[in-house]
Structures are given as structure tokens and as C-alpha cells.
């Protein structure tokens, strides 16, 4: 079964030599042996049926390069969300950069720091909230992340603390000599009745080839609320694998927005476990693909207890020779009555060479439920096009406008105005006649 795993084993040995031995060492090793056993996923596995990761396996990305990358404050200023006042943790090529981060003015008791620091200082909190590799649906990429776990964000909110300012996690990638692999790990722990907004931004500053293998562990205690944004703008030559695991307790509320724009091969996994009554997750997603991009979004919600809710709305716009995959799974477990779960996936195919594979799944083992899902594949409405054309808007602009409107359905649900505006700007930027559209849509 081993395919290209040797490279990672050797790389891991180099990492072991560098790191001090601590409580994580053993966990890293056992995760590595798990990865060695399973190797990279392949298309014979149902979960990876439509996504071939051999290119990533062949890439021999290394996580232990010592190369320093110079990056200026101006470079970062350009990609920041305009006028978004936030705390910021910045990582460059997978390594934490204190000099580029901004953590001043955190309320008392709130912890926001690099994971490496947290591993030393808050062993109990970190170890209790990291995803257990033994879980059945965790892929070997997650094991690989654990094997190389080092940097990332650690966020802790004590009881009843409402964090006013969002936390922005900036993962930047910039050219360096070796093909680097980053395995960022975000551990977010929310105590009861706390509330926060966390943004994960993955941005490629040039068109270099690298591999990001991110894992986020979210733990929401009773009545906690988290607004989570993931904005993925990796370089068009890079590979991005992301896994988000949420453990949700009574009356907790998670809103997940996932916007995928970059990357050559991208896979996003979201897995939420609604573990007590009143827990709710809202998943909102947009993927826009062009060129030869391959973007795969997998979501899974486990309704473990009665009175839990989930809503999902994912939209895709596919251009050129790109391919997108959507797989949404809702599992209502035994005796989890009074469930409401709704799921929707709509796709716009703009090119004959593009391909969409979508699979909304329902697995239901209780009877008092209201579950629905829908999936559509289609093209721009002819009547709408005609309406615009009859008002002297040329075809390209009309198409762009309608495409934008299609994507806006997802973007408009984003409550933070600076992020919404920036995403609108980015989405329009991908369409023909971008300037004209901006004129139309400027508020």
C-alpha cells in the first residue's frame, strides 16, 4: 500500500532531530505509522472517488526546510481585508512569524498564540481538543498533519467572553527553493457562552508550487458561538488539503463559510458532530474554478442527539477545463429525533470541458425528522440573459452579471462587511468585464 510514503518518513526523522522531546512526540510517531500504513488515499476509496491525489504524493514536499523568506509589511497590507480591525496571527510557508502578527489588546483570559507555544504551555487544553486519528473517517492527510504538527493557531475563549474583534489567521506562501509542505494545525477551544469570529486565509503570494495540509479542531461548549471563515486563495500551482472538525455541544452555534478560489488540487473536508440538543451548524460555501483546477468539497454532519439542526448551501461556478466535486453527507443517528437538516448544492457549468460530480447524501436512522437535499447542475437562464441583452447590455457583461448574482447568493450571507466586500471584489475579478460589473454592483 505504501506509495511515496518513504519520503515523508525520512522528512519526519529530520523533524524529530530538530524538535525537543515532549508529550506530543509519541502522538506524532503513532500518527506517522498510521499514515505509513494507509498511504495516500486513492480513487478506489469511496471518499476519494473523484479526487486523484497522486500528483500530491509524487510531489515529495518537505516540511523541514530552514530557508528564511523575507516578506514586508507592505506585501501583507495589500492582501489584508480593508478596514477590518482584527487580531492577526501570520504564518509564512507554514512557520509562525511573530514580527508580522498583531495580538495587542486581547481581553483577559483569552489566549491567541502559535500552537508551538501552546504545546509547551497548555498541554492539557491542546491534547484534549486535537482530533483523534483513530476515528474512522479521518483521512491519512490528517494523520500526516499530526505527524508534522508544529505551528498553527491556538485560540482559547473562557466562559462568557465575547470577543469583539475577529481573529485573522494569515497563512502566506512565497517562493523558496524547495517545494515546501505546510501542516498548519488550528486548535480552537470555546468555553460555554463565549463568542468569536475566526478567519482562516490561505494566500499564495506568487505562483510557486507547494502543499498545504491544514487541520482545524473546533470545540464548542454549551451555547458557544463561532463564525468561521475560510478563504482559500492558494497559488494556482499549489495543492491544498483542509480538514475541519467541529465538536458541538448543547445550544452551540457554528457558522462556517468556505470560499475556494485558488489551488490546483483542493480538497476541503468539514465534519461536525452535533452532540447535544440545540446544537446547530450552518454551512455556506462557494467554489469558483477555472483553468485545470480541481476543487473537492466534502461535508459531513452527524446528528448524534435529538433537536439538532443543520443547513447547508454550497454553490459552484465552473469554467474552462476545471472540475469540482461536492459531497454532502447528513447522518441522523439512532434515536436522534426531531432533527431538521437541509442541504443544497447548485452548480453553474460555463464550459463544455468542465465537470461537476455532486453527491448529496442522507443516512437516516430515526423517524421524526425533516430532511431534504437538492442538487442542480445547469447554465445561465436564457430568459434572464435576454432581459439584459434587450436592455443593451452586451453578452459577456450580461453573462458576468448573472454569474456574479449566482455567486452572490452565498457571499451575501457573510455578515462581516469587510470580508464580504473583499470576496465580492475577488469574485468579480474572476469574471470577464470585471470593471464594468464593479460599476453595476458598487453599493
Amino acid at each position: 500500500m505504501s506509495n511515496n510514503t518513504e519520503h515523508y518518513l525520512a522528512d519526519h526523522e529530520r523533524l524529530q532531530d530538530k524538535l525537543e522531546k515532549n508529550w506530543l512526540s509519541e502522538k506524532r510517531l503513532s500518527a506517522l505509522s498510521g499514515f505509513e500504513q494507509n498511504g495516500f488515499p486513492n480513487t478506489r476509496q469511496e471518499n476519494w472517488k473523484y479526487t486523484d491525489v497522486r500528483a500530491i504524493a509524487r510531489g515529495d514536499f518537505t516540511a523541514t526546510s530552514d530557508a528564511e523568506v523575507s516578506i514586508s509589511h507592505e506585501e501583507i497590507a495589500n492582501i489584508r481585508f480593508n478596514d477590518l480591525d482584527c487580531y492577526e496571527l501570520t504564518f509564512v510557508n507554514g512557520k509562525f512569524r511573530h514580527d508580522l502578527s498583531q495580538l495587542e489588546g486581547l481581553p483577559e483570559g483569552v489566549i491567541v498564540c502559535d500552537l508551538a507555544e501552546a504545546i509547551e504551555k497548555y498541554e492539557n487544553l491542546v491534547s484534549a481538543n486535537m482530533t483523534n486519528e483513530a476515528e474512522s473517517n479521518v483521512s491519512s492527510f490528517t494523520a500526516l498533519n499530526t505527524a508534522f504538527v508544529q505551528h498553527g493557531a491556538f485560540i482559547y475563549l473562557p466562559k462568557k467572553v465575547v470577543l469583539e474583534k475577529p481573529i485573522n489567521l494569515l497563512y502566506l506562501a512565497k517562493d523558496q527553493e524547495t517545494n515546501f509542505a505546510a501542516h498548519p494545525r488550528n486548535v480552537i477551544v470555546m468555553e460555554s457562552q463565549s463568542s468569536a469570529v475566526v478567519i482562516e486565509s490561505y494566500i499564495g503570494l506568487d505562483d510557486s508550487q507547494y502543499f498545504t495540509n491544514a487541520v482545524s479542531d473546533l470545540s464548542l461548549a454549551a451555547a458557544a458561538r463561532l463564525d468561521h471563515y475560510k478563504v482559500q486563495q492558494e497559488s494556482m500551482n499549489s495543492y491544498h488539503i483542509g480538514y475541519l472538525k467541529a465538536q458541538q455541544h448543547k445550544d452551540s452555534y457554528l457558522e462556517s463559510h468556505s470560499i475556494s478560489l485558488g489551488g490546483a488540487i483542493v480538497r476541503n473536508d468539514i465534519h461536525s458532530q452535533l452532540d447535544a440538543a440545540g446544537a446547530e451548524i450552518v454551512m455556506n460555501g462557494l467554489y469558483m474554478t477555472s483553468g485545470k483546477q480541481h476543487v473537492d468539497n466534502h461535508t459531513r454532519v452527524d446528528h448524534l442527539k435529538p433537536h439538532t439542526l443543520s443547513t447547508e448551501n454550497y454553490r459552484g461556478v465552473l469554467n474552462d477545463r476545471s472540475r469540482a466535486v461536492f459531497n454532502g453527507k447528513v447522518i441522523v443517528h439512532k434515536d436522534a429525533q426531531k432533527i431538521e437538516a437541509h442541504q443544497n448544492n447548485a452548480n453553474l457549468l460555463l464550459s463544455d470541458d468542465a465537470e461537476i460530480d455532486t453527491k448529496p447524501e442522507l443516512e437516516i436512522y430515526a423517524d421524526d425528522v425533516k430532511c431534504s437535499h437538492g442538487a442542480t447542475v445547469g447554465q445561465l437562464d436564457k430568459d434572464m440573459l435576454f432581459y439584459l441583452r434587450s436592455r443593451a447590455i452586451d453578452e459577456d457583461t450580461a453573462r458576468s452579471l448573472l454569474t456574479f448574482a449566482f455567486a452572490e447568493e452565498v457571499i451575501s450571507k457573510i455578515k462581516l462587511a469587510p470580508i464580504r466586500h473583499r470576496l465580492e471584489y475577488l469574485v468579480v475579478g474572476q469574471l470577464p468585464d470585471a470593471d464594468l460589473i464593479r460599476e453595476f454592483t458598487n453599493e
Binding site: 457549468l349 453527491k359 436512522y365 423517524d367 437538492g374 445547469g378
Partner: protein
């Protein structure tokens, strides 16, 4: 009270009314599967050399395959060596020439099942091919059909009388190596129906095959091949029952449909194999490969199925929409009660231009049953203006059952329009209340609501079958309420 409880008992006993066995002398080969058994079957049926070769090839390929495990089913391991692959009622030297020569016991069996093999009786508008264990025992209305040019006979006869047609189309829709059960069937299939509708002919009556498993320890492996030549039309019905036994019996059939230019095939199934008792003991394993090939322009294939029986159902009647403007349809009601499991659905493969498909699937699960819809809608790169509409609804009765949906959509053409919707819920309390308030008994109310839920599918069935299907539904869900 006493009278009432008696009534209930009667109902319970009535659960599966076709569960009797017929005592009849039968030729049965000992259990086991090897090349000798296949050669034996082939010899017994006096098949030509090429067919034996075809079977052996399938068998050799089957040996390299593994049981599929991807379905959402819990299947006990099947010992393929413990099954007898051939069982036929003993008959006189030559097979019966006409109905008068058919063993009266057999006729009685079909009479009991409500399938008249006497041509003059009611249901006279339907020609029946009766398959008993491994062989076809009788085909009615042969003469009348022949006048119209329609060939309708048992598969064994077809091999002898129309070898060219059989050779041309056999395995052309479901190749021998298609899947595990299709390969097994190709190796050991014993009988089935063959039907050919010549150019421009509209078949004058409904054709039907009635399958009956009687012998124990046997499997039924039949093969049906229907070819509708240019501009023809045929409606075909299929029914099945089996005795009640504590063991699981395997039924692995293959059905191939070929529709040439402007032809239309309507294939309806009412599947009522023995589902096992309420503890999940016994019942038929119904692992069937059904596929229709819309080979010609403007052709149409429509599958309608009502699945109420079988311990486990594994079945995906599919359409290959190759011809331009061809149409595929799939209407299904799958009911599972007690410990029944079903993993059923369809595949619509759009290849030609302007192809259309419709999928309406209704799943009902009660008690501890598991019911899954699994479907694939595939729009190939050159299938311009393809259109699909899918709706699959599930109804849950009881808090221990399960309903699952696994729809796969793969679209590679920007002019494709694919829609999928699915809902899962239980019978609404307000609907029930409305009925109860108007003096309708709870049981009747549930029956009404369930029938309404399935109406879209039932209306696709030929009249006699629709009535039958509604009755069946009532019996299958007996005791599932409250």
C-alpha cells in the same frame, strides 16, 4: 374482543400468502459450482457450443471477482458452493407441446398464485411465460403473438429456434464481466424469457413472466432479453413469489432490454419474493442486474418497479441513453418492513444528444428495515441538451428503521440540466389527525396516505398490476402502524 383478536391473527398469518410449497418431482443437481455443473446445465438444455463457451468464460471471470460490499446492506456471507444451480420439475421425455400437457400440479400452483395459464380465463389480455425454479413451464398465447410476428418464448427455446437473434443481443447490454452477480448469472443462468418485437409492430397484448422459486437450496438465475426493433412497442410485466423457508435463497437475474430507433419498451415489475419472517429469518436475496439500452434514435425505455418482497434487494434498473432524443424513465416504490433491507435505484447514462431522463423513487421503511436509494445520473461530454429530473422521497414508519439516499451526479456538458431533490420524513401528525377526525381508522388512514405517497409510481403501472400493487403494499405494511 375475542372475535377481533382472531381477526388480527388471521391478518398476521396472511402476511405472506404465497408462502406454500408445491410437492412435485424435480430434477435437481447436487449443490456446488464448477465447470462440470455449467457443462451439465448447458448439455441439459441442448445448447450450442458457443453458448457453453460464453458461460465458461463468464465463470472463469467470476472466479477472479469478489462479492461487492459497497451497498448499504448487511449481507451474510453467501456460500456459492452450497447452492444447487439447476432444478426442474420432472417432465416426460419431451417438454409439453401445449398447455394440456403441462403437469396439472404446476397449473394448480399458478392458479393458486392467481396467474392463469388457461388462455380463455380472466386477465386474458396478458400472455404469460411461467418460470418454475430453473425452467420455463409454459408460455400462453404463443399462437396469437406469432400472428403479429412477435416472438415470445422461454430462453431455452429461443436458443434453439432463434440462435442468431440470441447470439446477436445476448450480453450486449450487460456484458458477462459487468459485475459479480451478472457474471455468476451468465455462467449458470437456466431459463427466462425471450422477446422480440419486429419492425413497426405494436405488441397486441401485455407480455409477462411469472417467476416462482419452489425447490429448496436452489438459486434462481434467469435471464430475460427483450429486443424491440425499429418503431415497435411492447409492455412487459414481471412478477415473482417464493415459499417461506428459514434459509436465504439467492435470486440473481439479468434483464437486458434493447430498443432500436423509435422503439419503446415499458418494463414493470412487482417483486414479491418471500421477505423472511418478522425476526429476519429466511427470505430471498434478490441481486438483480437490469439494464436497458436505448440504442436507437427517439427510443424510450421505462422501468416501473414495486419492490415489496425479498430479505435483501440489490437492484439498479438502468438506462443507457445512446440514441439521440432517447428517453429513460425510472419509477420505483420500494417498501421494506421488519428486517428487510433494500439498496435500489437507477443509473441514467446520457450519451446521445437531447436525451431525457426522469427518476421518481419512493422508499418506505417500517420497523427495523433499511431502505436506500442509490442512483447515478451521468451526462457525458457530447450529450448536448441532456435533461434529468430526479425526485426521491422517503417515508419512515417507526423509530428503528432507516432511509438513506446516495445520489451521484456527474456532469461533463455545459448544456446539461440536472435536478435532484430528496426529502425524508414520517407521516405527518396533522395528516393523520385530519383523517382520524373524519372517522377514518388509523390503519386505513395510513394506508391512504401511503398510497397517495406512491401514486405517482402506481399510475405508471398497467391497471391489473396497479390494483395488485396497492393490495400488496397494504399487506406488506400490515402491523407497521401504531
Amino acid at each position: 374482543m375475542a372475535a377481533k383478536s382472531e381477526n388480527v391473527e388471521e391478518l398476521v398469518r396472511k402476511d405472506y400468502e404465497h408462502g406454500f410449497t408445491t410437492e412435485i418431482d424435480a430434477d435437481t443437481v447436487p449443490p456446488g459450482l464448477n465447470e462440470d455443473v455449467i457443462t451439465f446445465i448447458s448439455k441439459k438444455k441442448e445448447e450450442p457450443e458457443w453458448l457453453l463457451e460464453w458461460r465458461l468464460k463468464a465463470y472463469r471471470h467470476w472466479l477472479t471477482m469478489e462479492d461487492p460490499t459497497w451497498a448499504h446492506l448487511d449481507i451474510e456471507h453467501i456460500d456459492y458452493q452450497a447452492i444447487s444451480y439447476y432444478s426442474a420439475p420432472k417432465s416426460k421425455e419431451d417438454g409439453p407441446k401445449s398447455l394440456d400437457e403441462v403437469d396439472p400440479k404446476l397449473l394448480e400452483t399458478y392458479e393458486k398464485l392467481g396467474i392463469p395459464l388457461q388462455e380463455q380465463k380472466m386477465l386474458a389480455g396478458v400472455a404469460v411465460d411461467a418460470v418454475f425454479d430453473s425452467v420455463s413451464v409454459a408460455t400462453t398465447f404463443k399462437g396469437k403473438l406469432k400472428e403479429a410476428g412477435v416472438i415470445f418464448c422461454s430462453f431455452s427455446e429461443a436458443v434453439k429456434d432463434y440462435p442468431d437473434l440470441v447470439k446477436k443481443y445476448l450480453g450486449s447490454v450487460v456484458p458477462t464481466a459487468d459485475n459479480f452477480f451478472a457474471a455468476l448469472n451468465s455462467a449458470v443462468f437456466t431459463d427466462g424469457s425471450f422477446c422480440y418485437i419486429p419492425k413497426g409492430v405494436r405488441c397486441p397484448m401485455e407480455l409477462s413472466t411469472y417467476f416462482r422459486i419452489n425447490a429448496s437450496n436452489t438459486g434462481q438465475f434467469e435471464r430475460t432479453l427483450i429486443v424491440a426493433d425499429e418503431g415497435s412497442h411492447v409492455s412487459y410485466l414481471e412478477g415473482c413469489t417464493a415459499p417461506m423457508r428459514d434459509e436465504n435463497q439467492l435470486h440473481a437475474a439479468v434483464v437486458e432490454l434493447v430498443a432500436l430507433d423509435d422503439a419503446e419498451i415499458k418494463y414493470s415489475t412487482v417483486q414479491n419474493w418471500y421477505p423472511g419472517d418478522e425476526n429476519g429469518v429466511g427470505g430471498i436475496y434478490n441481486f438483480v442486474t437490469k439494464r436497458g439500452d436505448c440504442r436507437g434514435k427517439n427510443s424510450k425505455i421505462s422501468w416501473t418497479q414495486v419492490e415489496t418482497g425479498s430479505a435483501i434487494t440489490w437492484k439498479y434498473p438502468s438506462c443507457l441513453l445512446k440514441g439521440d432524443n432517447s428517453v429513460g424513465e425510472f419509477y420505483s416504490v420500494a417498501v421494506t418492513n421488519n428486517h428487510q433491507q433494500a439498496d435500489t435505484g437507477t443509473k441514467m447514462i446520457h450519451i446521445g444528444k437531447n436525451t431525457k431522463s426522469t427518476i421518481i423513487s419512493k422508499g418506505i421503511s417500517a420497523k427495523q428495515a433499511q431502505n436506500a436509494y442509490r442512483g447515478l445520473v451521468k451526462i457525458s461530454k457530447h450529450a448536448d441538451n441532456a435533461r434529468n429530473y430526479t425526485q426521491c422521497d422517503s417515508l419512515l414508519m417507526g423509530d428503528k428503521c432507516g432511509a438513506h439516499t446516495f445520489p451521484y451526479i456527474e456532469a461533463k456538458n455545459s448544456t446539461a440540466t440536472v435536478e435532484h431533490e430528496a426529502t425524508t420524513s414520517k407521516i405527518g401528525d396533522d395528516q393523520l389527525f385530519y383523517c382520524r377526525q373524519r372517522g377514518i381508522k388509523e390503519e386505513d388512514a395510513v394506508n391512504m396516505i401511503v398510497n397517495g405517497f406512491c401514486k405517482e409510481v402506481f399510475k405508471e403501472l398497467p391497471m391489473e398490476f396497479a390494483v395488485e400493487a396497492q393490495k400488496l403494499l397494504g399487506i406488506t405494511l400490515e402491523g407497521a402502524v401504531g
